[in-house]
Symmetry: none
Subunit: 298 residues, 4 copies
């Protein structure tokens, strides 16, 4: 399949079941809502080393938030429900409770509750006050700048992590420019999160390693410098490969984000230096979800 | 002591011995060096919940970096040398190794080595190549965008964490504006790091809690909403308190940053709404370093 | 935690999101319903090599089946929805369509449809006849023994695969006897499937291998013959370890089956030769679901 | 030709060249040898959809097996030698290596070697040990229940697949009873395998279909419900047809099994409801082997 001079490989991304929640952070102004959101979602590129994969979903105007202040919608993914609970508590406790002027609310409902302010309230040392509004419980925890207002519970749902596509280009600056364009397009969508730095990963991995203790190692088949040494998947003209990894609340969210991202790359045309779009998978044996590029782009 | 209409309380900040390292991240352009640095230093407000306290020290021009590319200098603090090693490996592995176009180098020398690329190199699955230049070993790890170049070792040194001062103001917006001004001034200094979101904390804490399991709880003496309920340190006119926490490589670095920060607040004058500058301590019983405000400002 | 002289280790099983469907096979008599079900669910121990994990859920009496004949309820799990579709079509086409006197129906409803007879109907070479009853479409496909009746669609749902517990005993016959007892207890439960031969696995694996091409290898820490050679998890008195792997339609189904299985082992007491119950996990980094043994048994 | 009131039609079965191997599975007791054998030979009715045709040949007493334990002899057929290799490795790896207490050995010698434990040994992750006894190499692979002992190689030989005969009866229960009787008789013979569920197929097929993508479709000439609609081979009194498909290591094995099976049906006499014995062929154009019923029964 060729789109605007760029080949869409007949491959598929393999993604996994995860657990996710959405949180709404508000603050005195958008700047501080963003600072809290960025701090809370930092160091969250991969559950393996960071415990969570997290990112900002979008900015919220005051009429979209529970306390009518400017806000940020944040998505947090973890493998198990238990891991998610731990990460919510820890990240909100360290990065939102501590941040000037903020409040935090659930951005999701489901039958699977996740403590939000439920345990953080004890920071108030007995001075915290609870209020029940429309069936939801909120806590007001006294802090030095007044009170930290937080909803008692949020919720989690099964979600999808690890959707992805690969951009193969003649040179690294070209691969990077194309991916930055795709990231911008995908970030306009709701319910998705690009966990890697700036939305882009360059360290594609395969399962296993010659070193016993390592569960994963560099995806040598996609490393341009190893073309002569391993069974490479790269043609001679490919100078660099970058990957956009996509987590989404549903399978449909990941599909749509993948489609939008690839479409953004393809609109740049072959003159951009992009040669081919591929995807990362483990032969279909590990992940619950498969995203076939050509079906998405049909 | 009164400075430009603002009172400097006769108090002291109590700070602790920590371990710290400096890392230099470079990239194709300043934007991507910053993305890697921000991602790596995210979720790092407090060692208690985040494992590390980290932040950007400053931007580096190409003539200041080992590979002559634009860069960022990053500081990472942990309690023990062992914790520091773990956090360096994990955060660099998750947030720099993964980030398009980056390389990473040590920004510090000492007799206390800390693995930087030493173990990350195994990601190369046997294809990594080492090179010894001027007595330093570097690793080139094949990744999809070419190679991740990293120095084998960095170093650590004893450092100081938890320096601080408190800004007491008539209202929260006023406290916030004053602290933002101080943050800007401190961030121009080398060798210091402001770990909290946007450089500012609002969740001052005291040791202990009425809940046995909690080691710390809200510093009720500085909570404006609790003025009538507890033995408050706040006069009636204080509407909000914010704290700037400062980590530095040396005691002198923390001293200097505290001085510069308080000075920045004081230049705003009493019309800014700031009433008083105080500091957080535990009666001098816990921390190795004491920073007496009046001595600093003398 | 000790139960009836047997230690329950403070560990957890790590399980994954999968896709599952339930099918109802009926036949002239229970013997032929069972033959079809066993054939269809054979060679289905692990998705890695078999494409599916499948097994008989339970026998159905005539008043429980759509065509009022004796039946078997069968569960089929695959990683992706697409894999599941392929396996349903292939296994039903090869093992039920071919089997004397059988019919097949959906045993599950959801918004995620999966073709059951939809494509198999073309085997009828144009002679197949469709019938719509209560909003469901059925196909009658002429075969040599009359007609193969099949429902057009079944459905799939997200499910959980890879729940497990390990039985550590003094000798292999003792481990085996205890596991056979547990298998019998778990097989009485609905909505679960024990994919391994006879419900028991002896080839516990870890992720990765010293051989590059292999994604998994023997879990050496649990191999009694390697006790002196590797960092073993086995005390000197452990002579054999066996594992019961559990797939279930929901997290609650896997929890309950794990609990019932461990409980069955523990009722045998320490005289059975069972020393300890443990569980298999990958450090919590890979699987979406965690089943903590002590919580389950509390 | 009439035998005991039942007509033997002047027709022939058309069979194909295949590749086959025999494997010997042993275990702690006959029950577990059978479980491994049944799991390994499940979902193996037709090479088209299952990759292999497989089944249990017979039970082996301890004095017939290499390790003097109770065992099962298993036959596995595939079209090409390569397909056979793949299926042996996959099915043994998934269903025997995993099964408590089992070992596996070659049950055939020839000049055409097939890897048995040769690649499976790598599961041992370097801890596997090899032993050469009487010119045969064996591998001991550490697993949780001790060691999986497997012979390094088995062998394959050309074999015959698709021998068959058809039983035409007044009703389905009568056709089924007669075929069950024949299956029992054939299963007592060595070197043959009845790949379909319970040894019987009801989905006789012809080559081609009105649907272009399908290579085969229902054998309408033998479908009782299509008697008025197509050029039927069924007289008015035939209510049902079932087929016994026979694979054998040699042409003679298939001949003998066909003869024994038909003989078993005929001993039931015309009162059994069986009217006629026929056979399936493609006009003699596709298969290398022709088994003429009347010659066999002469």
């Amino acid at each position: 399949m060729i789109r605007n001079g760029i080949e869409i490989e007949d491959s598929f991304a393999e993604a996994f079941g995860m657990n996710a929640t959405r949180l709404v952070i508000t603050a005195l102004n958008p700047r501080w809502a963003r600072i809290a959101a960025e701090t809370m979602t930092g160091f969250a590129t991969s559950v393996i080393g960071c415990g969570a994969e997290a990112g900002i979903e979008r900015e919220l105007s005051p009429d979209e938030t529970p306390d009518r202040r400017p806000g940020m919608s944040v998505l947090l993914f973890a493998m198990s429900g238990k891991d998610l609970e731990k990460q919510v508590e820890r990240r909100v406790g360290q990065c939102v409770l501590t941040c000037p002027t903020t409040a935090i609310f659930s951005g999701m409902s489901s039958e699977k509750p996740v403590p939000l302010g439920k345990n953080l309230r004890f920071f108030g040392d007995g001075h915290q006050i609870s209020k029940l509004i429309d069936g939801k419980r909120y806590w007001r925890i006294p802090v030095m700048d007044g009170e930290f207002l937080c909803e008692e519970m949020t919720a989690r749902r099964s979600a999808v992590g690890g959707g992805n596509f690969l951009v193969l280009a003649r040179s690294l600056p070209q691969a990077l420019a194309a991916c930055e364009h795709a990231v911008e397009a995908i970030r306009a969508l709701p319910s998705v999160l690009l966990p890697f730095p700036g939305g882009i990963a360059r360290s594609g991995s395969k399962v296993g390693s010659k070193y016993k203790a390592l569960m994963a190692s560099t995806n040598d088949a996609f490393c341009p410098t190893l073309r002569g040494l391993v069974d490479s998947r790269l043609d001679a003209e490919v100078g660099a490969v970058l990957e956009i990894v996509i987590n989404g609340l549903t399978e449909a969210d990941v599909s749509e984000a993948t489609r939008v991202g690839i479409d953004a790359v393809c609109t740049l045309g072959a003159d951009s230096g992009v040669i081919r779009i591929s995807a990362g998978n483990y032969g279909g044996k590990l992940g619950q979800y498969h995203f076939h590029l050509r079906e998405l782009m049909a």
